[in-house]
Amino acid sequence: MCLGIPGRIVSIDDAENRLATVDVGGVRRQINIACIVDAEHPPEACVGDWVLVHVGFAMSRIDEAQAAETLRILAELGEAESEIEAMRMTAAS
């Protein structure tokens, strides 16, 4: 359920009504950003934000650090594997 897709906000169309344009792989559409703005992060600050888009609403700002952290864990798994592999190769040779 709840198809969501990351997109980048490219412009604010109507700050008062919380309307912005998002870009997903070159495809654009107007979305509502009411759920990702607050006093500290007003509409104007949203341009350039990566957000998770669901049924025309930005439902979450994507946390770049967390994304990187997740990928880091996965990369390490791979490296660990490679190391083990490398060790095996070394052992075998």
Binding site: L3, I5, G26, R28
Partner: protein
């Protein structure tokens, strides 16, 4: 190739009004003026005989092209009429020319029957007729007979066009959905899903703006080049409604083979991907209007690919998979992620998944 040399009627009628009314479908002078002014003047060719209700073609002249007549028809109901990359007129020529060409036929002549909704602007009709004429000229086919109906407002969506094509197949070519054999290689001539994505965006219902253009194109030149290089092509089909998934399923079922394609080898434009991600659609099921699925024997694959890539409409051609001896009718895809999934026929049409 005209038989009955006929003085061409040079005094074509002229439309006096800016919009079509039911009067233009009544069989009288207004209809004649519409046909003359919009269609006859645009399609102008030696075989078009607006004085008769039929075109007459010399059978001996046809037989010089080959031994079998190919005969195909399609209705075109695209909405909107004009879209990035084409229009209904271009589509109505390309679609039928392609349906002739994929069977190995040299496309020669088309008929054209239009149903027009009253209220249509004559200028729009002219633009469509001009587009048909230009596309036909470029494809080397002539529109030799036609029909025009006007229906009341609300009885049709602006205009429907049905073109029927005849072409001739060279002796020796044997192309069919039942001819694929295990080991054959499956090719496509470029990126998939552009037409479907462009049309759904152009329709505006989903309020999406996209840079994607329809791939609508006459593929007869590309196909001629392919057949010149590889006369033994097993199968070709343009992947229109239902996308390549549908063509692959038809091929697998008719040839009683399995087909395996590779997601990493399947070319999809970034804009089409974005479009599909937003709406939860699968590009394998999106319509194309300038893409064919081809099956060739493994030993012909490299030559076929080279022939395709040498043509502007095949620049991005790829081998996307192969025919196997697996379960008859089964199409599967090795996903870019290393998994494997079935690519079945859709039941109906794809609906945007949102929730």
């Amino acid at each position: 190739m005209s038989i009955v040399a006929r003085p061409k009627p040079r005094n074509l009628g002229k439309l006096m009004v800016s919009h079509v009314t039911v009067a233009h479908g009544g069989g009288g002078k207004a209809m004649k003026d519409l046909i003359d002014d919009v269609f006859v003047s645009a399609f102008d060719n030696d075989l078009l005989a607006p004085l008769e209700d039929q075109a007459r073609l010399d059978l001996a002249a046809l037989a010089r092209h080959g031994d079998r007549l190919a005969f195909t028809t399609d209705g075109y109901v695209v909405d909107p009429l004009f879209f990035p990359g084409g229009d209904i007129g271009k589509l109505a020529i390309c679609g039928t020319v392609n349906d002739l060409a994929v069977g190995g036929a040299v496309p020669l002549h088309l008929s054209c029957a239009v149903v027009i909704e009253e209220g249509m602007a004559v200028e729009t009709l002219r633009a469509i007729a001009r587009s048909m004429a230009a596309t036909a000229r470029a494809a080397g086919v002539s529109i030799v007979t036609g029909d025009t109906k006007v229906v009341p407002r609300g009885a049709c969506d602006k205009i429907f066009i049905t073109t029927t094509g005849i072409g001739v197949i060279r002796p020796g070519l044997e192309i069919g959905a039942d001819r694929a054999r295990p080991g054959d290689i499956v090719l496509v001539n470029g990126r998939l899903g552009d037409h479907g994505a462009a049309i759904l965006c152009a329709r505006g219902d989903m309020a999406l703006q996209s840079p994607v253009e329809s791939d609508c194109a006459d593929l007869s030149g590309l196909i001629a080049a392919l057949l010149a290089a590889v006369p033994g092509v097993r199968f070709m089909r343009d992947a229109t409604r239902g996308g390549i998934a549908t063509v692959l399923n038809e091929l697998a079922a008719a040839s009683r083979v399995a087909i395996e394609i590779d997601e990493t080898a399947t070319p999809i434009d970034e804009g089409v991907r974005g479009f599909c991600e937003i709406l939860g659609l699968d590009p394998l099921y999106l319509a194309n209007e300038g893409k064919i699925v081809i099956a060739v024997a493994p030993e012909d694959a490299a030559v076929a690919l080279a022939a395709l890539r040498a043509h502007p409409l095949g620049r991005d051609a790829c081998a996307i998979g192969k025919v196997t001896a697996g379960e008859a009718g089964r199409v599967s895809m090795n996903t870019l992620f290393g998994g494997r999934r079935i690519v079945d026929m859709l039941v109906g049409e794809q609906l945007p998944r949102i929730c």
